[in-house]
Symmetry: D2
Subunit: 142 residues, 4 copies
């Protein structure tokens, strides 16, 4: 409870700093942290034009960005707290998601070892729960 | 020659339209088409702050975006010319690339069938040729 | 219940035929179907020497074989019932599993469309539930 | 030359020991080392019934096994010489390969760092050069 609220605030802070930093993370400006802690991070957002491709659906490149960013935030809530370095990311695209849709991004730390962390991400339609994309992210802990 | 110049202009046009479209492709505004045609697309860019993460290196999410976008442009130069729909993207991250570095993105159509297209992308340091990331992209041709 | 028993028998039959066929599926001779149906297949086995590498742990190549085979059996229990053709397989290796360990292989159909099917596989230690490997499998339905 | 012959013999020895070891590597009994050294390994084989699936084409599980095994042999020819531990394997399946076809497996070490090695594998038809499968393998060096 308290721990989870702490983790949520911690993640909101990390996200705000990242967005304000002026790097590629500014593309996350519409992302909202729902909850986090113990290696998990749940975020949500409404798909706007800025996240879409030429045919008005969630851009595959932004989907991959969500996999990367939200899993890294999940990792920050583990005891190690470090962001790590990406080794491998894979994304499977199951369904298109249109402008205006609310999506949930649910990231989980599957395992965190001494050198490597393994993360998994589900992106779903918030209302129906339909799976839009599934991602896998392996990070090196340096 | 003529064909290649035609393909280069075609890709420059596609890229310009995509960037101006106001979607996520606007993150490609610094990308330059070097050459293209027959299922290939070579592009290059200088890494600016807007492409980086909190520690000033190429953001893994933007790397994935480059894999998606440049391979899709490669696909547009095949006879089918259609962009297709992403099925699977995987990216392996080999080396960090810093702000100011010039990178090359070299995308190739490995096979284009009736329903599926298979694409491969190498992202390298332009000067040294060192491999920064390697991507694989499978698309459905609808 | 009845449906699930039917599916289990159906999968046991498919597996037996595959093993007897003399192809690479004979490497599955120790696999036991636990349950199945509605796009799922749960199987288990004891790791024997024949499944291991030089240091006596589950061979990464056999892990990938389990991802391929058990997800394909899961797919056979959907309405379409066809095995499809592999497009992309990715496997993440989280923990070693030793000779003598009992493992569970849990495969799920995430989505089955007109042309493509998306499957996910978890391989865990049967006793502890610890995740050994996680796989993703995309198939073309022809 | 001398170095390459040495590497070829070294790889032939490793392969023979692995096949005789009685583990899953015995499925490689028909594999022949063509050449190797400096992080590379080229092998070839004729597809027999034992490597195929129910419809007589190269089994996707065996394809993944080839990606794993031949890239690991490539890694053994680097200065570090250690086999490492699999972290992520991904395989893209481009073309079916029938019983009787001669295939080549060409594995390359893309980068070997202090902790991680990155390998790439192409499996082609020996005669036509047509790409059958493409694999990516990330290993941890322990």
């Amino acid at each position: 409870m308290a721990a989870t609220n702490g983790a949520k605030k911690f993640l909101q802070h990390i996200l705000a700093v990242a967005i304000e930093g002026g790097g590629f993370d500014k593309t996350l400006s519409k992302l909202r942290i729902v909850s986090g802690g113990k290696g998990r991070c749940i975020a949500e957002m409404r798909i706007e034009k800025e996240h879409t491709n030429r045919i008005g659906v969630l851009h595959g490149g932004f989907t991959a960005m969500l996999v990367d960013a939200v899993s890294t935030m999940a990792l920050r809530t583990t005891e190690k707290a470090v962001p790590g370095i990406s080794v491998d990311i894979s994304v499977t695209y199951l369904r298109a998601a249109k402008t205006g849709e609310e999506i949930m991004i649910n990231a989980e730390t599957l395992k965190i070892g001494r050198s490597l962390a393994f993360l998994s991400v589900d992106i779903t339609n918030k209302e129906s729960g339909a799976l839009i994309a599934k991602g896998s992210h392996t990070k090196f802990m340096g």
